[in-house]
Amino acid sequence: MYICLMYSKELLKGTLKTIILKLLSESDSMYGYQITQKVKEITEGKINLTEGALYPALHKLEADGLLTTEKIEVGNRVRKYYRLTQTGNNDAKEKVEELKEFMETLKTIINITPQNLAWSN
């Protein structure tokens, strides 16, 4: 059971951008804390998106022109909402498709049984 609590950082690293883009493509705009909570909620706590990974990625995506931000005053402080740009939207679709294909490919590797291997005969 505890293995499922959190996946290793290495596994998350390559898919982090895709996760963020996918989440933002499904809602109008989100702020940082909301994204971490949403991921936790959807994955039932199996994926814990830390601040240390989330914010650098968000800023990088913004610098690349995939996201825009909007500052809104909320409860005495400024909250930054992130939203996909047009390019971000297209990119999100591509990245999600790519990840799906990658997962299929991964399955074929993971599901290989010794019988299927040529040299085992």
Binding site: Y31, G32, Y33, E51, G52, A53, Y55, P56, A57, L58, H59, K60, A63, T69, K71, V74, G75, N76, R77, V78, R79, K80
Partner: protein, 405 residues
Amino acid sequence: MEQLTEKHISEITTLIKAKGVEMEELLYDLVDHVCCMIEEKMEQGKNYPSALDETMSSFGNKGIRNIQEETTYLLTKNILVMRKTMHIIGITSAIMLLLGSIFKIQHWPGAGVMYVLGAASLCLIFMPLYLTVRIKEKVGKLNTWTNVVGVISSIALCFGILFKIMHWPMANMLMNIGGFVLILIFLPLYIYNSYKNKQLKTSTIVPIIISIAGFSLMFSLVKLRNSQDVTNAILNIQYTINSDVEQVIKTNQSLIADLKQDTIPLNELMKADEIANSINTIINDLNFEIAKSQHPDLSNEQITQFLASDFQAISNNNGDLAVLRKKEKGLAELMNLVTAYENQYQQLTGVNANLIYNKENLDYYLNSNSQLFPLGIVINDLSLLNLQVQKTHTGLLQNYKGRVS
């Protein structure tokens, strides 16, 4: 829903800044994030202090700092090459300037080339690259402007020093602009910035102290050319010359009076006496006027008095050479008179007068392109010429007196 007050939020902001977050945009994110975490904990029944404590410690000691570092890394990954180039060029130009200084001191050839190459690569490549990198790191608006001002004034100052060393024009202007912008605009901005970011600690204060101290020392080095000993020595010479001239003129006057009494003096001798007197008058006038040109605020009496007894009060500045270059009773006329006296002397005695004075300097005052020259040296040269003429004249008069009696 629990809501944090303004005071709580400013406390949280300070805490996060103290962990080393400089990027303004990231700061907004992190403050909001931490606030959300605290609010969630408070909803579960915790009070504010313990919720804050728990949240901050959940990041670990370097956690927040690492978030900024990771962000900076991601944002500047594509300018890594630029950074490396910047480092290499910076080190190269520093070495070049150091070698240039050593070569200059040793009077080896090539110092000038090294200075020019070193300073040019420092100012035209290294500094702009540094500025670009800093801007790409997105350190906030005020920080960016501080960097822009700092880099531009440093370039001006650096070029000013290079121009000064190479004796190129406009060196002083560049140095003054660069220095003043650096001290009066960059430094206050830098201090204000550090104060605003609550970073006013040893690591910020020490560079500020060192730069102010360094600048003051450099300034005094440039401004105070002579040591007190050298100044005093020059003053002593000037006093001696002044009193000698006074003494010799008195002697000459009494000799002339004697000669006039004894017998009908030779017309040619009286001509020589006239020339000597004119030389004395012109030199005194020129000394007065060039001193006045630099001190228009002083009264005529004050200048006369300073020239006679308190030379130091007026000799520490540059005089205006234009005063000497006037047509009527100027330096040119004076030099003609000196030649005329030499001719008259030779005619009367059959011997070369052989006046010893600094003709090169006088030519320089008359013909050089520069407008200003240290006042003390000009007055010294003119007074020395006067002394030479008057002493030679004494000899001439004494010669005649001997013949007559």
